[in-house]
């Protein structure tokens, strides 16, 4: 019998704790495929964020460290400086990277630290119960914007990829989405490229932003969540390669 689809060997055979319809499972798979396909498993160190993906180390069969909220780019900086031959990546949500860790990602990028960042943007704080994130959409209802996000009260959605792409220290910045098969395939190529260029010793930070569904805190069905990314989120967060 011919195997047409199987679990990437870099992922453990484990049930995840993620909600039905969550995008983290897809994102994990893309990361695991990239590491496995490029033969990097033995020299990769992953950094788990604080947020829904904090337990990512239970799913990846690689060395991993769990760090303080938002500080992954500082941790990654030290690891990559000390061990330039290793593949270092941080896996961070939008609360972790764009809110509490905004300074750390900005400065890692401006220094041009050549590690890889997988930035999962689901426009909400998932783990703590669906509060507003810097990336929360205009008018989006969250646990802390019950009447919807308003510019005057809550500020504007933060476009991290565009911001970081302006810095000379970033080598590769691309925004992808997980809302359709075609987009997932594109995301897979981007994630792979973000690891590949680190493995090749290319200059600068590599960052892939993944628009990812959170049906639970968007209060939508998984199918509607996928549609909402396409109809709404991609307007605020246009897909495509911003740099590199």
């Amino acid at each position: 019998m011919k195997i047409v689809c199987q679990r990437p060997p870099v992922l453990f055979d484990a049930s995840t704790h993620y909600c039905p319809g969550c995008g983290h499972g897809i994102a994990h798979r893309l990361v695991a495929e990239a590491i496995g396909d490029l033969g990097l498993r033995g020299k990769t160190i992953g950094i788990a964020p604080v947020g829904c993906a904090v337990l990512a180390y239970f799913y990846f069969d690689i060395d991993m460290v769990e760090v303080a909220h938002g500080r992954a780019p500082a941790v990654a900086t030290a690891m990559k400086r000390l061990h330039p031959d290793k593949i270092i990546f941080s896996y961070q949500g939008d609360g972790d990277l764009a809110s509490i860790g905004a300074a750390e990602i900005l400065h890692a990028a401006q220094r041009g630290e050549p590690f890889t960042v997988i930035f999962v943007n689901n426009a909400v704080f998932g783990m703590t119960g669906g509060q507003m994130a810097p990336t929360t959409m205009d008018a989006q209802v969250t646990a802390t914007t019950p009447l919807g996000r308003k510019h005057k009260e809550h500020g504007h959605p933060l476009r991290v990829a565009e911001l970081l792409a302006t810095l000379p220290g970033t080598g590769y910045v691309e925004r992808c989405s997980l809302h359709s098969v075609a987009q997932v395939r594109r995301a897979a190529r981007a994630v792979r490229h973000a690891f590949e260029r680190q493995a090749q010793g290319a200059d600068g930070l590599s960052l892939v932003e993944l628009l990812s569904p959170c049906p639970t805190y968007w209060r939508m069905s998984p199918v509607d969540a996928m549609k909402w990314i396409e109809t709404d989120m991609t307007k605020m967060y246009p897909l495509g390669r911003l740099k590199g």
Partner: protein, 360 residues
């Protein structure tokens, strides 16, 4: 041949760390310890090692965390306000059982305070300024030589027990120059420990973490860590004492205060006052046995510190009411003078002789 040289305390710490085999230094500028980063920025690249000026103390301590997680010798240094920012990282280092050395060259506080020498961060260091149930072994050098000597001791404790270790000094110790003998340059490469993250080539993957969600899991982890702390309390206490056997007044002071107390006690002796002193070199574990052992009948204790009475609590806890304890504390960058300490020793002696030593 070891070389005798003249350096300020900050440079002594930096060079001693390099000679001990430091792999990486991360720091953010703050007075009065900027000489450390300046020294590191020149010397670390010379030795082919990592120096990085971080964007904040938060980043610096997390860079230390990253370096420790890969099994490298890492250090950061700062002064009081910066060390406050590092407390999150200290808690995570403790929670992840990662070894590292953190130096606090203390200045006046709270808040921005001033840049004068102070000891107001005693509680923050020895009680644990970060969240959660943990301890931080803390060394308190009292000379430029001891600034250098503290570094290998701190790294040894950090690596033996897998814990962050603090060295706390003050602006005087950081800035003043004294002759010292530096350690030899060590042959550096160690075996990486079995918990270090190196990439899982040819072995099972490893995890470094501080989150334990399972029922009873965190309690077990913390209890295991406290068993190591108990071992530290048994084996790592360091103190220097003088003039205790016949003392009527027992002074307790650490760091630069101990130098002032030593001089004041010598003068008190010339006046016929039997003054002795105990100098804690480790603040945690605190030399409680040495202090309790000095609590003979009729003796009065005098704690001298550059804070409003922080270490004095540990003196009282060591004595458990066995002897009265007086305090000379100067906050906000005030430095007790020899005369000031001598006056307090006289007053303590008077109280001891009158049998009215005051509240224990």
């Amino acid at each position: 041949m070891s070389d005798r040289t003249l350096m300020c305390g900050n440079e002594a710490i930096a060079e001693a760390a390099i000679r001990h085999g430091l792999d990486a230094y991360f720091g953010y500028p703050i007075t009065p310890q900027n000489e450390i980063a300046a020294h590191m920025s020149r010397r670390m690249p010379e030795e082919g090692r990592v120096f990085l000026q971080s964007e904040s103390e938060l980043a610096a301590i997390n860079m230390v965390f990253g370096a420790a997680a890969t099994g490298d010798l890492a250090m950061t240094t700062s002064s009081s306000p910066g060390v406050s920012l590092m407390q999150e990282g200290l808690s995570y280092l403790a929670g992840a059982d990662l070894p590292a050395v953190i130096v606090n060259v203390m200045r006046g506080g709270p808040g921005l305070g001033n840049i004068a020498p102070a000891q107001g961060d005693y509680f923050q260091a020895v009680r644990g300024g970060g969240h959660g149930d943990y301890r931080t072994p803390t060394l308190a050098p009292a000379s430029v030589q001891e600034m250098a000597d503290a570094v290998p001791i701190a790294f040894d404790i950090a690596w033996r027990y897998r814990t962050p270790v603090m060295i706390i000094a003050d602006g005087i110790l950081g800035q003043m120059m004294e002759p010292l003998v530096l350690p030899e340059m060590s042959g550096r490469r160690r075996e990486r420990p079995l918990w270090a993250l190196t990439g899982a080539e040819g072995r099972q993957r490893r995890i470094v973490r501080s989150l334990y969600l399972g029922d009873g899991e965190l309690e077990r982890v913390v209890r295991e860590r406290f068993a190591r702390y108990a071992e530290i309390e048994r084996t790592e206490v360091r103190a220097e004492t003088r003039g205790i056997p016949d003392a009527e007044v027992v002074c307790v002071a650490y760091g630069i205060c101990a130098r002032i107390v030593r001089a004041a006690c010598a003068r008190a002796r010339t006046e016929g006052i039997r003054a002795g002193w105990i100098r804690p070199i480790t603040l945690w574990p605190f030399p409680a046995d040495a202090i309790r052992g000095a609590s003979g009948k009729g003796r009065v204790f005098l704690a001298v510190e550059m804070s409003m009475g922080q270490m004095v609590d540990d003196v009282r806890l060591s004595l458990l009411g066995r002897a009265p304890v007086r305090l000379l504390g100067r906050p906000g960058g005030g430095i007790p003078t020899e005369d000031e300490v001598l006056r307090e020793i006289r007053a303590a002696s008077d109280a001891a002789r009158a049998g009215k030593a005051g509240e224990p």
